[in-house]
Symmetry: C2
Subunit: 349 residues, 2 copies
């Protein structure tokens, strides 16, 4: 056995301490994963720690994923931590091209939490699992002293089976491919912000948390192997997911910004705060890159599914410039859209 110290002699993560930004899904998160977690846990040749991994075990192909949820507050318009914990894991599997079958759930609860608060979340999980067609197979509970878990943290692991006819990879993306988005962006992140009451702004807005599996299945059925890549733009938003794609495939993503659905209330809150809606987290949307010849059928199929009516073709892949995301509007002018930097909206999932 080779000791880890010999295998991995240098960690490339140079930040002296962990800050909120390392959990925000943007540049700092990527530094932490690629500079510390991936090289130490997955070896020198590892890519980034994937949200869902497809593995072969006992001659079967399965997909696995795990996420911890620390959203604050625990409940918010349109959802709660329990619902998020189920949908988030179902969605990580869905955009990897898999249908969730089993979930494991672990709870870190702080002493003194009233039972009705816990019970509400367990019921929310059961309901979300029922809607997503997934079964709980086990779990674990730990209790820590009052104040040391902000109510509760929930971790879910998901085990799923690959959907047929899909082979997703940034390496499959080609110039001319179209970028499809399943619905309006930023609802979840801005809902959490408003639920905290820190902002003197009211809006009739709710989280978009839901299982995207029905939409993903409709897309896969309509476009089959024409689907190249999918991602759910949670922390860091659409801009961060597409920058990761651009970097991984070495091409550029050209967005027609006025085709990207954004609700007025989300746009208003973002203007007030100096944020870009494309950096705001979503919990019920996904991005897909689809071959040009499949894009029309894909969009049509998505729009026929309840909840997919606002799906839009928001742009395309081009050879140049390398590894960038660009946005144009119908007024003309093009801007570079970067990944999220810092953590303007902490603990949104």
């Amino acid at each position: 056995m080779i000791p880890v110290e010999a295998r991995i002699s240098v960690s490339r993560f140079r930040d002296a301490q962990i800050d909120m930004a390392h959990g925000a899904g943007g540049k700092a998160s990527r530094r932490l994963v690629e500079g510390l977690f991936a090289p130490l846990l997955m070896g020198a040749n590892a890519g980034p720690l994937a949200d869902a991994a497809h593995i072969n075990i006992n001659d079967a192909q399965i997909a696995i994923t795990a996420d911890s949820f620390v959203v604050h507050p625990l409940r918010f318009p349109g959802g709660s931590i329990g619902e998020l914990a189920v949908n988030g894991t179902v969605n990580d599997l869905a955009v990897s091209g898999a249908r969730a079958k089993f979930l494991l759930a672990t709870f870190v609860i702080e002493a003194g939490l009233p039972t009705p608060i816990l019970e509400a979340e367990v019921r929310a999980m059961a309901d979300a699992a029922s809607r997503a067609g997934v079964a709980f197979a086990g779990g674990d509970t730990k209790v820590v002293e009052h104040g040391k878990a902000d109510g509760m943290y929930i971790t879910t692991a998901g085990i799923g089976v690959p959907l047929p006819h899909l082979s997703l990879s940034p390496m499959s993306v080609r110039a001319g491919d179209q970028v499809i988005l399943s619905g309006p962006v930023g609802d979840h992140g801005i809902t959490i912000l408003l639920a905290r009451g820190d902002l003197d702004f009211e809006a009739d807005l709710k989280s978009d948390t839901r299982s995207v599996l029905p939409l993903v299945e409709a897309l896969a059925h309509a476009a089959g192997s024409g689907v190249r890549w999918m991602r759910d733009p949670t922390r860091g938003g659409v801009a961060t997911s597409l920058n990761e794609l651009a970097r991984d495939c070495g091409m550029s993503v050209h967005l027609q910004e006025d085709r990207i659905p954004v609700r007025d209330s989300v746009r208003g809150a973002c203007e007030l705060l100096g944020l870009d809606p494309l950096h705001i987290a979503n919990e019920g949307q996904f991005l897909a890159v689809v071959a040009r010849e499949s894009a029309g059928a894909a969009l049509e199929a998505l729009r026929e599914i309840p909840g997919g009516e606002d799906s839009a073709n928001i742009g395309e892949i081009r050879e140049q410039p390398e590894a960038a995301v660009l946005g144009s509007t119908s007024f003309g002018g093009t801007r570079i859209i970067d990944m999220l930097v810092g953590d303007p909206l902490p603990r949104i999932c």
Copy 2:
């Protein structure tokens, strides 16, 4: 779709709030799991949420488990939270009769945590995984404000393959079966207690954290289908695990207490604190119930494995009394050994 409220009309968990005891692995934990988590998440007919579940997916049998780790302090003689997070999940699979193949790891880290502390735990996880022969397949990181995660919490999910020739269930246990224990009890729990410095007592003691898979495999090889049941006696200790067995199989476990290996320092600390070593958590031991005719070969096989030298036959299963654990010493006299009540040593894993 039937709403959960209709399916499960009554939660049987009556405690008004969550307390430390609900995370201790004893009676209160069992109430929480059986009265709230299991009926809501797994349906009215569910048994307790198992530590590891064996499921069929894509025509393959696999075993899955997940645990959160909140041990305090993060490092202690003989181990650390990272090592525990790997070994604990490998062991949950092992005693379910499965060999861990893949792990997922999620981190909840508090802002301000010095990077070297995180890096040390990630390295500890990599080392433990290497020793246990298991690979990391993915993960997730969340960051919460300073003070809200006591350094860090780690959750690991494990996916494994069933070991051949094993069919484990409390229902398979028969009167006359023998109870085998892999080594001395209480080292882990007392080590954590001493590491906190709350106790004016010093001892040359370290956590027993390790993968028990080599021992489990040796036992399975020697006794095959003669192995009826296994469990790693973590929170709640040997007494709690055996009480759960007694309840589940409806028979009694008769222990010869002077055959149970307990180090002098563990016994001393327990006497000082008024605790029973059989209630103290272990992180590198397991219990097995083995058919009488296989017990000799099983014990011999275990003792030949490095780290199995102290394995002992500590008692047997009898028909009467129903659902109880009894302890006898060579001085005569028999006592009832109950499950852990309360949480005398919180956050030991």
